[in-house]
């Protein structure tokens, strides 16, 4: 065999692998980019406005953290062919199962309300009334699932994921100093020293990077997609690419607000968009579109996470590959969650700030449980076989889980007692 034949076969193998990857990619990229939801974008915008580029290094660390947590769901889903809710019921019994399921339903619904807050705030900048936003979002999301195929839903979702990258051109528009980014952003340090305020922001960034719905969503998506044990390496690659994208988007949001809004108190991404519009109309517009898209991406994943979980536990047909007639309860849960969350935002004087704070607190009750169950299941040889955690993975995963539990708990407590860490 000469060198040309070798290169030909190598190229053919590579092309086949790439084709297979594009077929299997989806859940990891979607979940990671949906992680940059309305709340996430607000946190990054506020982080940039407070500390400039100073905390970019921390987000770089959070990329692998998100990857290691989500990678476990790929293995668990592909090996057990069960979503996370069903896996908890099966392995830990009805008590922990009901706790996780009901807590997930509450967290998802409250988070969905916050996504609607972000979306209505973003489109209000363009003069679109909130009721039109809610109707439009529900209609588009309804269309996405009623097409009757997981594949169709996934590809439309990936299209919205691509729109999430709008923050990258935004960062080029503001002409940031690359030297400053490299010098101040990538060298680990705490701008202004380690104090309560910076601690609060570190916790907020962790809180937005790892959310309980992500664990449930990705595992169910892996099962619905029909991924097998042999597909695990592609699932891991999909998750790794997603984690890179999520960090890149977060960093570019920080670069935008860190360049133009440094030192200004920013409470929401919508406020940041309005402030940026004063400097550059297109920049503010891009940021507002990005915020709407972030909320939309979060909403499409979160509402599905609940429907999948209920379907798994109650034994209903629960796949996007089923028609409405074949899986009526699955779609009913999906639409009830979506429409009620949208309606709450339209209630005049609804305590939306309290709901936003409550999300963080309720998420803190579910996240540690979901993570602990995940790691215990991944160590169960009977269930996982050769795909169980290795010693190295256990060291990494345990460290990550313990740190996340401590910091997210402190974040939840800080939501209840705002002056504690400020």
């Amino acid at each position: 065999m000469n060198i040309f034949t070798g290169v030909y076969y190598w190229g053919k193998r590579l092309l086949k692998s790439l084709q297979l990857f594009f077929l299997l990619a989806g859940p990891g990229i979607i979940v990671m980019l949906a992680d940059n939801d309305a709340g996430g974008i607000t946190t990054y915008a506020a982080t940039g406005a407070q500390f400039g580029y100073g905390l970019i290094w921390f987000l770089v660390i959070l990329g692998p953290v998100a990857y290691y947590v989500q990678e476990m769901t790929v293995r668990l889903g592909a090996v057990t062919k069960r979503g996370h809710a069903e896996a908890i019921f099966d392995a830990f019994g009805a008590f922990w199962g009901w706790f996780s399921l009901l807590d997930l339903l509450l967290v998802d619904w409250l988070t969905l309300v916050t996504e609607f807050i972000g979306m209505t705030a973003a489109l209000a900048i363009f003069g679109i009334p909130p009721y039109l936003t809610v109707i439009g979002v529900c209609a588009v999301m309804g269309f996405m699932v009623l097409k009757g195929r997981y594949w169709t839903w996934e590809k439309i979702a990936l299209l919205f994921c691509a729109l999430n990258l709008v923050y990258i051109p935004c960062a080029f528009i503001v002409h940031p100093s690359v030297t400053d980014i490299l010098k101040n952003g990538l060298i680990p340090h705490f701008p202004g020293g380690f104090n309560n305020n910076i601690f609060f922001f570190l916790m907020a960034n962790i809180g937005t990077t790892i959310a309980p719905w992500m664990i449930f969503f990705q595992q169910s998506a892996v099962v619905d997609k029909g991924m097998q044990e042999k597909d695990i390496p592609f699932g891991k690659l999909d998750t790794a690419i997603g984690s890179v994208f999520t960090v890149v988007v977060a960093i570019f949001v920080i670069i935008v607000t860190g360049t133009l809004l440094k030192g200004q108190p920013i409470d929401s991404a919508a406020q940041a968009s309005l402030e940026l519009m004063k400097t550059n109309k297109y920049l503010g517009t891009f940021l507002a579109i990005g915020l709407f898209n972030a909320g939309f991406l979060g909403a499409i994943c979160i509402s599905l996470a609940s429907s999948w979980a209920f379907g798994e536990v109650f034994g209903w047909a629960h796949s996007l590959n089923k028609k409405v007639k074949e899986a009526p309860w699955f779609y009913a849960t999906y639409f009830i969650t979506l429409i009620t969350a949208g309606l709450v935002v339209l209630i005049p004087g609804a305590p939306l700030v309290l709901i936003t704070l409550f999300v963080q607190v309720i998420a803190v009750t579910l996240l540690p449980a979901a993570l602990v169950f995940l790691i215990l299941l991944l160590n169960n040889e009977e269930m996982m076989g050769k795909f169980k955690n290795t010693l190295w993975l256990n060291i990494v995963d345990f460290t990550i889980v313990i740190v996340i539990i401590i910091l997210s708990t402190l974040y939840g407590i800080s939501a209840l007692f705002p002056n504690l860490f400020r």
Binding site: F89, D90, A91, F92, G93, A94, W96, G97, F116, I117, T120, A121, L123, A124, P129, P130, D267, S268, A270, Q271, V313, F314, V345, L346, P348, G349, A350, P351, L352, V353, L354, T356, V361, V364, T365, P368, A369, V372, L376, L377, N379, N380, E382, M383, I405, T409, G412, I413, L416, F417
Partner: protein
């Protein structure tokens, strides 16, 4: 110790929602092997949740005690904190 009220509620729910009873029966016995590590992790989780419930009750008490300091609002389409 039997609590008649709880038993009555439980029986009512069983009659009304047989699906839930079925799920409870199906998952009555945890499938995972109860190793010391699993038992310890579940115990820690229970303690953690009890702590969180205690903190939430404390917060609820402070909200009830000082309602004027705890009523932020926001309207759809824009943040409007009080």
């Amino acid at each position: 110790m039997k609590i008649p009220f709880i038993n009555r509620v439980r029986n009512y729910l069983r009659r009304k929602f047989p699906v839930i009873s079925e799920i409870n029966r199906k998952y009555a016995v945890p499938r995972i092997k109860m190793t010391p590590m699993v038992k310890f992790s579940l115990l820690l989780l229970r303690l953690y949740l009890l702590l969180l419930v205690a903190i939430l009750f404390y917060k609820f008490y402070t909200v009830v005690a000082n309602p004027s300091q705890n009523n932020p609002t926001v309207s759809a389409g824009g943040v409007e904190k009080k």
